[in-house]
């Protein structure tokens, strides 16, 4: 009886092993095909994302040698080149709110917001442990926007993976990133509820500026 059950168990295991392997093989095949076609032509939005990711990896590799300020400066150029920060901001606060702002307020909020985004990157992408971005897919939405999906792989012992979806919109000169989702968590949606809540309070504009400035100072420490 015991032998029988052992035998059954082995069969079961072999079945799953072979099953698993065939799946794995199929997957590598698909991967190989997608990379083969990817090298043939890189679309404009994909290039924007890849250039930005390379800039991030560069900053990470220089993590030890660069100060926070220097890294911020380096990343700011890369972010402004690839992101439509102002469009993101307008979507976050809502057009009604945005139009309610004076010219001066808009300029002030844009400046602080951009600095906040840059600081967040500079503070979090500050060391390199063989991480990499792997392109997964490019997808055109009904509205004609493009979503580039890639996986941020953290090797070493942790084996973490984060799926990044970059949403790009074509502006006058080029494709620009307006939103990023990490594992399905959209940056704009999260910020939208935070910013709108703060703005809805009394003296909302000033407190929003104050809260963001505090966050920036905290990153710079």
């Amino acid at each position: 009886m015991k032998i029988l059950s052992n035998k059954f168990y082995t069969c079961f295991l072999i079945f799953f092993l072979s099953f698993g392997n065939s799946i794995a093989l199929a997957e590598t095949k698909i991967k190989a095909e997608s990379t083969a076609s990817a090298t043939e032509q890189i679309s404009a939005p994909k290039k924007v994302v890849i250039d930005f990711q390379n800039a991030l990896l560069d900053a990470m590799k220089q993590g030890e040698s660069l100060s926070f300020q220097a890294r911020s400066k380096q990343l700011e150029a890369a972010i402004l080149k690839s992101h439509d920060v102002i469009k993101s901001l307008r979507t976050i606060v809502g057009s009604k709110q945005w139009k309610g702002f004076t010219e001066e307020q808009r300029a002030k909020l844009s400046k602080v917001f951009t600095k906040f985004i840059v600081s967040t990157y500079a503070a979090n992408f500050n060391e390199f442990a063989n991480e990499s971005f792997v392109f997964v897919s490019e997808h055109t939405t009904k509205k004609g926007n493009v979503i580039i999906r890639s996986i941020f792989e953290i090797p070493e012992s942790k084996r973490k993976k984060v799926t990044f979806d970059y949403a790009l919109k074509k502006s006058a000169d080029n494709w620009k990133i307006y939103n990023i989702a990490a594992d399905g968590v959209s940056d704009l949606a999260t910020r939208r509820s935070e910013y709108r809540r703060i703005l809805a309070k009394e003296d909302g504009f000033n407190s929003l500026i104050a809260i963001i400035s505090k966050k920036i100072d905290n990153y710079a420490k």
Partner: protein
């Protein structure tokens, strides 16, 4: 994010908390207006108990600052990386049973077979799950739980709740969490090695150390940041991360330079198709996975012949 937002594994503590909660919620069900600072703020439909939730959130935060964080830091400091990895793998593998059960219940035949294979391989060749050898041979880890299965079955998500100690979930996560606990062998570990369960809690907390620090630094309102991230993360898990044509990642296109304000309409217009799209997705997937099951049964019978 991954581990941070899994529906929590429940212990016996759960029943007490649950009863407390029912008592509390029935007490405050009538009181739906929320007052923060001077003004009353528009309440999100998904979060009608924001007042209660915020209190629990603060409670959890304080508890974490004085208990969770120091213990987690100590754990990370005294245990070498390979031990931490082993412990994580071990508990992740025990949870593997629940993962494949739920994969099958959602009709994902192929994935369920893979997940079963993962569990068997890691439990044997992986030394009771201490080593994740299955990933090395190409069997990727999946995130499934009963709350996701309920979502696929069409059970509505219900309001967002923050429970003391257990953290964020939606009401769908309550039966979800109970099922997950029942399907997890760690729940049945007896008194002599109850240490194991404490270890599991500490390890789970330690695993999300980076994420919690990130939220603390990046969030303007940690409560809202956590809520939005949690809800979106769960939605993404239910859809298995799939995108479709309707998915614009929030391009509201709401800005009209000439001054025509279309934002509110657009927001509303965007939300409805979104939910519809998810429903379609779920239906489509159920059909797809049904096909997969049939296919996998076919291949299986081919092999045996």
């Amino acid at each position: 994010m991954r581990i941070l937002f899994q529906e929590k594994s429940f212990s016996s503590l759960f029943s007490i908390v649950f009863i407390m909660l029912i008592l509390f919620l029935s007490g405050c069900a009538n009181n739906k207006t929320l007052e923060t600072d001077a003004e009353s703020v528009e309440i999100s439909e998904i979060d009608p108990y924001e007042g209660f939730n915020r209190k629990m959130f603060v409670f959890n935060d304080v508890l974490d600052t004085y208990v969770g964080d120091p213990i987690s830091d100590a754990y990370l400091w005294i245990t070498p990386q390979f031990v931490q990895t082993g412990v994580s793998n071990f508990f992740s593998n025990l949870n593997g049973i629940n993962v494949f059960i739920n994969a099958f219940m959602q009709g994902k035949g192929k994935q369920g077979a893979e997940d079963t294979g993962r569990f068997l391989i890691n439990s044997t060749f992986g030394m009771f799950g201490l080593f994740d050898v299955a990933t090395d041979i190409g069997l990727e880890k999946h995130e499934e739980d009963f709350a996701q299965t309920l979502a696929v079955w069409g059970v509505p998500q219900g309001p967002y709740l923050v429970l003391p100690v257990l953290g964020p979930l939606t009401t769908r996560g309550i039966p979800g969490g109970i099922f997950d606990a029942v399907a997890n062998p760690a729940t049945y570990v007896g008194m002599p090695i109850q240490f194991l369960q404490i270890l599991q809690v500490v390890n789970t907390r330690a695993n999300v150390d980076d994420e919690l620090n990130f939220i603390d630094e990046a969030a303007l309102d940690t409560y809202l940041f956590t809520r939005e991230s949690f809800l979106q993360y769960r939605k993404n898990l239910i859809a298995d991360g799939k995108l479709d044509d309707a998915d614009d990642l929030l391009d509201l296109d709401d800005f009209d330079e000439d001054g025509l304000d279309t934002s509110e309409d657009d927001v509303k217009a965007n939300i409805a198709p979104e939910t519809e799209a998810i429903e379609n997705k779920v239906q489509r997937r159920q059909q797809d996975s049904l096909d997969e099951v049939v296919e996998s049964i076919d291949t299986a019978s081919d092999r045996t012949q």
